[in-house]
Amino acid sequence: MLIFITGGVRSGKSSFAEMVAVYHGNKGYRLHYVATCDQSGEEMAERINRHREDREKSGYAWKTWEQPRNIHDLCTVFKQEEVILLDCLTNLVSNELFDGWQENRKQWEGIAFRELVFQKIMDAIIELEKQCGVLIIVSNEVFQGLLPDDSGTFYFMQIMGHLHQHIVRQAHWVYQVEFGMPILRKGYDADENQCTACTV
């Protein structure tokens, strides 16, 4: 099962995602946390710690995987009955797309590279979902203002948009979290075995 959770920064989407994971974990599934942010900077380290403490306090046995890039490397480590929470897609895309920026390799300017990044991530998501019981993906709303002039940001938005569209199409459940409140955008009817968009 694929669950997609999106929202603005500090909207409470990660906490909600953890609740969803625990809900499925209660059925006896093991909980895995795939963290995608690069652990540089004090601000980030603080947030990582806060989220990690929350997970420890939750009383459930989370296993954390630090995977800023190449999530397909994890495809073989999970079992059918396990829950994976990937937090978050935004960091993963940014790490993949801007890989090599320190050496001034502007790979993202090539369309072939961008397509590769898109395909790599989408394939890994589909593969991970097949491997485990429940895959929960958390992502950010980054499409709220004017279109950016700089090419890096533009292509980043483009890939994020395409990934969101593809994931929403594949997902069984889609939530948009606003100010801590989850809004169901797409739901799964187990009896009818089909997904339907929800009127908002």
């Binding site: 709303e141 499409f143 709220q144 203002g145 994020m160 929403v168 889609v174 009127t199």
Partner: protein, 142 residues
């Protein structure tokens, strides 16, 4: 007239293509990112799709210091007249919502954003149907 909006890269054009069995390559689909916005007397097909309304707004804002909303309204009315002149004609306007970010630094970008918001209100007011597309899922708001 059918007005379709939503954030950038949300699959708006794709949704229109699926809904109307249309394609970007067909005659009657105008992409305002690279083409000049056509006048109503240039519409030759029964289905006309104008994609990138915010790009039209940008050009009008760049060309006019004042009265931009009226210039755009006039265009809109000419298109609507074309649509109602014969039964079976259908006009679809597609525009990216650029109004939900922080206030832009540059005066021109602020005007672009403001006028887009006003013009989109005018489009929604005149439309029979309005849909917001969110990552491919549609929400009917009119």
């Amino acid at each position: 007239m059918h007005f379709v909006t939503g954030g950038a890269f949300h699959g708006k054009a794709k949704w229109v293509m699926e809904t109307y069995s249309a394609s970007r390559k067909m005659e009657g689909w105008f992409n305002l990112y690279d083409a000049v916005c056509p006048e109503a007397d240039e519409f030759k097909t029964s289905l006309v799709v104008l994609e990138g309304m915010e790009q039209l707004v940008k050009k009008v804002v760049q060309a006019n210091k004042k009265g931009t909303r009226e210039v755009l309204k006039k265009k809109l009315h000419a298109w609507l007249e074309w649509e109602s002149a014969l039964p079976g004609r259908r006009l679809v306007l597609v525009g990216t919502d650029i109004g939900k970010g922080i206030v832009p630094m540059e005066e021109e970008n602020r005007r672009w954003r403001d006028v887009s918001g006003w013009f989109f209100q005018d489009c929604a007011m005149a439309a029979e149907k309005v849909h917001v597309v969110w990552y491919g899922l549609e929400q009917t708001i009119k």
